[in-house]
């Protein structure tokens, strides 16, 4: 076996090789500066010694002035005026907020398909809607979401959900004159984005230094939905945009998202019993959430392979177990996806990097899970269900590698995953596939995980695919 010192020397010798693998990219600096040019900066002077002194003097003067004003106010009876409501604004001038409006997603594709509801109508992340099968997309977001801005930059904490062709919701976190993460607002449309209604503000009441993590919103019907708001401190990660999530609040609505009530809260103390892998300073906390009904849901625990389940709308949680025999555990189980309150799918994979993942299904709302037949022999890349019986799966073909430049296998099941039939052995999807959806037995859509520079469509159940280039109108 190679000696440590020799291995270290060889690693250092790999630098040249790696440099050739990742050469400088033409125009990359220009592209970075172009991105910088459209990025707003925090207001206020940069820090320096002189500024610190000036700032201290200004703060002292402000405190003195405030004290005088309060004293005078009390004497003049001004304090008896009714409370002035907090003005909610996205202008962060009053406090040094670190959040900014951002673009959505990664990669160079302009469209991240979210839900196609028919062969022609569908939604993509960011309030984009198509009525011609994905060729053209229009941003139908409400003007209040970005306060009328035409820019495709979205507020902090942005999340969206698309139930059908008409009903969609968007959520975002807004600051106020007193806090950067003051409240959350949701926006709902029931006419395909022609009109939007804004919810009342959902106060976040975050401690100082805390902010929201990845917000999620979802609906089981046009009226019943949930809102998941993880929170934490950014100081722990050293990155103002990525807080170390330590807790989360769960909200519910029964009026289509106009009003929200808090159902439960998972605090940091709840996660003290979970352990991150040895050597990691990752702190276990609430991750993503999924619901099968208004009361039954699952939450992943960050930094661990644990999934929690609630059957009482978040009032109590317990660890969900899955059948993972045959896998080299510790095993990773993805959050389940539910087609209805009973039928759900998830995938479990071992830690040995082998294509031996298990397809797990439930028909009783997640009480019991059973291993389903595996489509093909390769890595299971994407799975989609038209209904409880009709499923499609995209799988790597035998001998496939990332450099083999071949297509993927598409399998179909008509018996709820009991058996699979190869439909197409060479689906021309680009690596890595990120989205597969069939709206019926014939019409399907596929795109890359980095966004759809090219969207693949089929109208014959996946036997042949056509590539279209989506454009935002």
């Amino acid at each position: 076996m190679i000696a440590y010192r020799e291995l270290e020397a060889r690693l250092r010798e790999c630098v040249d090789l790696y440099d050739r693998e990742v050469p400088p990219i033409r125009d990359f600096e220009r592209r970075i500066m172009a991105r910088v040019a459209i990025t707003p900066r925090e207001e206020g002077p940069r820090r320096s010694l002189r500024h610190d002194v000036l700032l201290s003097a200004l703060v002292a003067a402000a405190i003195l002035g405030l004290a005088i004003a309060i004293t005078a106010g009390v004497r003049l009876g001004l304090m008896r005026q009714p409370n002035v409501p907090v003005k909610h604004s996205q202008q962060f001038s009053a406090v040094p907020c670190i959040s900014n409006f951002t673009q959505l997603g990664f990669g160079n594709g302009p469209i991240w398909p979210a839900k196609m509801v028919s062969p022609t109508i569908g939604w993509a992340k960011g309030g984009l809607r198509t009525t011609d099968g994905g060729v053209h997309w229009r941003d139908v977001s409400g003007p209040a979401l970005r306060e009328g801005s035409a820019s495709r930059l979205y507020p902090p904490g942005y999340a969206d959900f698309y139930l059908d062709g008409q009903h969609a919701w968007q959520a975002a976190v807004y600051g106020s004159t007193t806090s950067c993460n003051d409240h959350l607002s949701t926006f709902a449309t029931s006419d395909g984005g022609n009109t939007w209604k804004q919810s009342g503000p959902v106060p976040l009441n975050l401690p100082s230094g805390h902010q929201t993590g990845t917000v999620q919103i979802g609906f089981m019907s046009p009226l019943a939905g949930w809102l998941w708001v993880p929170t934490g401190s950014a100081s722990a990660t050293g990155d103002p945009f990525f807080p170390s999530v330590t807790g989360a609040n769960l909200y519910a609505t029964s009026d289509g998202g106009m009003t929200w009530r808090q159902l439960s809260s998972l605090s940091s103390s709840y996660f003290k019993g979970f352990a991150a892998p040895p050597g990691s300073n990752c702190k276990p906390g609430p991750g993503a959430i999924a619901f099968s009904s208004p009361s039954v849901g699952w939450v992943s625990v960050n930094c661990t392979d644990t999934i929690l389940i609630t059957r009482d709308a978040g009032a109590s949680w317990k660890v969900q177990t899955f059948p993972t025999s045959g896998l080299a555990c510790p095993c990773h189980v993805q959050l389940p996806n539910f087609l209805d309150v009973s039928h759900g799918i998830t995938v479990a994979s071992g830690s040995d990097n082998k294509a031996t993942d298990l397809l797990l299904m439930t028909t009783d709302g997640g009480t019991t899970w059973r291993e389903s037949a595996h489509p093909g022999t390769g890595y299971l890349l994407q799975i989609d269900a038209v209904d409880a019986n009709r499923l499609f799966a995209l799988v790597t073909p035998p001998g496939w590698t990332k450099v083999s430049n071949t297509g993927f296998e598409l399998y179909r099941s008509v018996d709820g995953g009991g058996s699979w039939t190869l439909v197409n052995g060479d689906v021309p999807a680009s690596w890595p596939p990120g989205y597969l959806q069939f709206v019926d037995s014939n019409h399907g859509f596929e795109s890359n995980i980095n966004g759809a520079a090219d969207l693949l469509t089929t109208d014959n159940g996946g036997r042949s695919w056509k590539s279209i280039t989506p454009a935002i109108k």
Partner: protein
């Protein structure tokens, strides 16, 4: 004509204004190292480019961003690492059955890479993202353990453990490869 950096103040921190002149030299000096770093974390060229662009935009946006190049670089690298983590999380959330890139065994690629350095680089790419990050900083950027720990935001002793375990994994993988080759 090269852009001159602003004069170094006694406080060791530049007073940045909204002029992008202070930022451009940092982009020029660090865009390619940052890209290589991001590529090592996500093993995807398009995503790495996007992450680096986003990271520069974020350091530009934040008033707390240090201007001194070494501190700026550490800040930038932390954001890149966080964006890479977020990218992997998004895959887990958005993908119905997504697959982490790093977990893929790539037999054909491995067979083609008989060169020892290529073999080693391929083995390194199969390490966990955290181990790749530590090994990259330690050996590809030739940073001390203290500097690596600073960039990763971890205690030095933890970084030493991560690197040691990564080296042990690499030794095992290289050894098993040799056994395979002898057997063939």
């Amino acid at each position: 004509m090269p852009t001159r950096l602003p004069a170094w103040p006694e406080s060791g921190v530049w007073v940045k204004d909204d002029d992008r002149a202070w930022f451009e030299p940092l982009v020029r000096n660090l865009s390619h190292p940052a890209l290589k770093y991001a590529q090592m974390l996500v093993l995807n060229t398009d995503v790495a480019q996007e992450i680096v662009q986003e990271a520069f935009a974020r350091v530009w946006a934040s008033a707390k961003t240090p201007s001194r190049e070494d501190e700026f670089r550490r800040w930038l690298y932390r954001i890149i690492a966080n964006l890479a983590n977020d990218y992997h999380r998004r895959q887990a959330i958005s993908g119905r059955a997504s697959l982490p890139h790093a977990s893929l065994v790539d037999p054909v690629e491995e067979v083609e890479q008989r060169d020892q350095r290529k073999l080693l680089l391929a083995a390194m790419k199969r390490l966990t993202p955290k181990a790749r990050q530590a090994v990259y900083l330690r050996y590809f950027e030739d940073r001390s353990f203290a500097e690596t720990a600073g960039v990763m935001g971890l205690p030095q002793v933890t970084v030493r453990v991560i690197v040691h375990r990564a080296l042990a994994t690499l030794r095992q993988r290289l050894a098993s490869r040799r056994v395979d080759e002898v057997a063939v």
